[in-house]
Symmetry: C2
Subunit: 341 residues, 2 copies
Amino acid sequence: MTQPEFRRDPLHNAWVVFAPERQRRPQDFAAAVLQSGTLDPFAEGNERLTPPEVYALRSEKSKPNEPGWRVRVVPNRYPAMRIEGQLEASPSGLYDRLTGIGAHEVIIETPDGALALEELSVPAIAEVFFSYQSRMIDLDKDSRFQQIYVFKNVGPSAGASLVHAHSQLVALPLVPPFVEGKLNRAREHYVTKQRSLFSDILHTEKAEATRLVAENDSYHLFCPFASRFPFELAIFPKRHQPDYSMCTSVELHDLAEVVQFALKRLNAVLEKPGYNLLLHTAPLRRPQTERFASTRYDYSWHVEIVPRFNSFAGFEIGLGTYINTVIPEDAARFLRGEVQT
Amino acid sequence: MTQPEFRRDPLHNAWVVFAPERQRRPQDFAAAVLQSGTLDPFAEGNERLTPPEVYALRSEKSKPNEPGWRVRVVPNRYPAMRIEGQLEASPSGLYDRLTGIGAHEVIIETPDGALALEELSVPAIAEVFFSYQSRMIDLDKDSRFQQIYVFKNVGPSAGASLVHAHSQLVALPLVPPFVEGKLNRAREHYVTKQRSLFSDILHTEKAEATRLVAENDSYHLFCPFASRFPFELAIFPKRHQPDYSMCTSVELHDLAEVVQFALKRLNAVLEKPGYNLLLHTAPLRRPQTERFASTRYDYSWHVEIVPRFNSFAGFEIGLGTYINTVIPEDAARFLRGEVQT
């Protein structure tokens, strides 16, 4: 097999992307080693070291794939999926196969490899979040895609292989069962209660207040009740909407502000931990049934930030259950600055 | 909170064990460092360094908590859950709480800290697997428990914090939704087809043969069709039964043989990778409904062995989808010895 492929088995019901090309990455089958000291492929002036850009925010007089950009989006050099080709789903007896079609892009958040995302100005961070939107709106035109997801890996404990600040965007030809589970639970809640689960969680968090960390005009930042990771954070928008790409520029500015605050507080309390930032948004298109219409009302896009200290071990992998050593009420007190570390 | 507690939120539907006591473990909030060179608490002669043993296979003239044992089971010094106390489930508005009752035991597989499990003789490995059974049968008497699970973490990449060969057993007061998902899919398959999903998977694997690695009188060893991890292995028993504790001594001997073979082949092909070994068995007790009776026929205990190279990153955590760089047909050819590394 040289083509990437999605596979599913009926016992685990998880899709797995088989991406043989990624095996060329140096850190495979070895501890991840951060590439610092070597030539930075994401730095300004090194544009030739990446595949040609698909999008950039750059000065008017600059040219594509040359210096002068503020945010730059390029295809992943080691993509898990391929953009070219026909989407073909095929049964294989008990099993399922789907061609490994998808987009896998890298959002380079700054030309300066020495800066972390939270060290940029709020307007510069907002430009990164605007770039996510622009890519989503563009990829939405490709009818092969069902789900777009943006994530950021920082530090080796979180799976990062490059130091230069970047995030990744994937467009998938399926809605993963894990995501479908969240959508279904949100929908069931809506059908039963005639209220959004996301609004109800925010209502509870505001009423109990013990897990709230901060808020601004557009967002609440809190430590979730059943946080899977120590010092896990969630960002829920106050204005309920399923699609991240529908955010206004004010909401992007406010998101930049709350993400910067969250990362700075994590850095202060935990001494620059590795972390993943996860941006969840509704599926792109659904059959035009009542189910579709409802899903769009009952789901809200949201952000999770999960600091990463321990590996997933046999307990987590076999049970889908997590062990967390820090209760979220304690984490919130540290992050609010009420307790000194 | 000083008592451990299970929590669930309605969006993720995953139970999280909050275990503040484990925070005293040295590797928390830092990269896991294997304790070699320091005093080995699991070595023969150091029995005083562990909590008193709950079970041991030892020479007739030896006494508990003294040398003379071959396999020794002790409570985990840093338990995720506590064995003492009343099981109390309580609603908390949108959220769920359950007291963190549970057993968390360590099975010390050999008195000799220099030996890996696969370096023991087949009868000695069978004694380790017999000890799992003995502990399951004992803990089954405690009506607070719903699910027993055994796992083994080897190497820092797999979450191990001690070098000395050991496995862990947990008895939980709930069936995790991830496990319930597997049970439900197996049951649906049985109800629809009147055949076990596990038997059907074995039938397919034997027919296609490309992912088979080995077999003996009691087991098939194969690389699953949708392997989540490179070189992942599954061991399915030929005699279909839900409960691992119902295995005969011949079946335990044969399991020791196939596990030893699998680990030796992984060591040869991948140079002693970190790995998790996961032992899945049916829930302990279910309401006496038709559902229960059916679940007991349609489910089969099984073992998974998953080598661990990369951290879970933002892609896996947010989507529940895995990227695997090695197709199982290739992994099986390496493990069968048809291709040299």
